[in-house]
Symmetry: D2
Subunit: 148 residues, 4 copies
């Protein structure tokens, strides 16, 4: 039951991030934690730009409760100085949401890696779970796959 | 089917790592990619110390093909300046192995986060999958749960 | 006018930090930005532990206006899994202070690298320079070289 | 003798790098080590693209022996998602070279931070200092200020 690589058309919002030589590890390729950082950052950038999320001062925060990633192709600096990251939402609940995101080398149709993680939204002060606010929910729904 | 936190007795080799204020993110706690770095580093340190793995120059390298993590309790600097990381092996195949590792706050019996990842061992030059060498396999077997 | 390496006796407060294989760069040694992170973190840990600095919520913050570092000996993982960092203060003004800090391999008397940086203390909200509060100043004075 | 911020016209080669929310520190701005990473990376990208430097496998490596940076304006995510980095060379010797590089917010003429560092070029195996090869030297000379 080996997973297969997604393609660009499986994602509905894209951003691009640059790599640094410091992102390579001892084996000469992007260390796997760079993938996680890109995925986490792409989703939060999406939520900021499309849903108005204010990570620094907003009343709610998204707490990651689990995450996972499949890796298909090694990426590295300087071969891959810019990486495209696609974002979608897999499912939305009352206070939790699961995102998926994938890294694409420029020119590649197939993902080099694809990951997912779940946010539980909580009140910044009380730390209690909260209902996902309308503006964020609307942004999330805009990147849900249709007819799924 | 929410996962529950492992305890220290579920792991069979331990190391300790220090946190930095730069590991905290915008929410004031360790960013989730720090957990991944600690888990990946703990396993490789174990393989180096117990199985003789030479990441810089050895003939084989462990390629991560998938990873996952569950988070139970937020960690942060300076409250948690040192984190204990426990390592075990879940299963060993011919050329692949799945590890599990967990982060523990000092004094805590329950894991703050627990993750797993799978290495496929390949030849550094040809990139072909190779059988796990005896010294590494012996180290891995030493942290397999008994009677499982 | 090549600088020479300081020794441990040039510093008056010490902490220890662990390295990870991800801290190594493409050349197999700790990337130079790791030194900066360790230096910055060691000074802030000192200010927190000895002067009560609350980085997350305190009314003032230390803004770095300049920094510099000299490198004498390469450090790397796994040869150097723990690094000792020594801290001192070079000079204290009304609202600014220059620190020095150095990295020592375990067992070495001579610094592998030594750096310095200057904090200007500002109000967290107004961003105006403020006088260094008594508790922080007292901590800083405790690591000033005598008879200098 | 406070330094003043350089302008874009003080630099002769430019690249752009993206920031991540994980680059922000506890104070909500880019941690100062991110500046160092960007500067180090920009210079090496320049040497790779313009001088053919092969960091992974080339016969020589550039060892940083000192570095310094002045900071003028705070940068942060998501306000500054892309940073322009300008590169120049201050002076070239037989085997050593001092670079300068600066970070510019998009639309800003004045540097947010400017740094410098010195490479001593050594043989990858013997670790002896070597004369800077012609292709690298030519690239370096192309970003030396004229009539200075």
């Amino acid at each position: 039951m080996k997973p297969s690589a997604d393609s660009r058309s499986d994602y509905f919002w894209f951003t691009q991030m640059s790599t640094k030589f410091q992102d390579n590890d001892i084996y000469g390729h992007l260390n796997n934690n760079v993938h996680s950082q890109f995925i986490d950052n792409a989703v939060n950038l999406f939520l900021h730009q499309e849903g108005g999320l204010d990570m620094a001062n907003g009343p709610i925060i998204g707490l990651i409760v689990n995450s996972g990633c499949d890796y298909f192709k090694e990426l590295g600096w300087p071969e891959h100085q810019n990486i495209d990251i696609g974002v979608r939402v897999n499912k939305i609940g009352r206070s939790s949401v699961q995102y998926a995101a994938a890294l694409f080398a420029e020119g590649d149709e197939a993902a080099a890696a694809q990951g997912h993680f779940t946010h539980v939204w909580i009140d910044r002060e009380s730390r209690d779970a909260v209902e996902i606010p309308a503006a964020l929910r609307q942004a999330m729904e805009s990147v849900l796959p249709k007819n799924d």
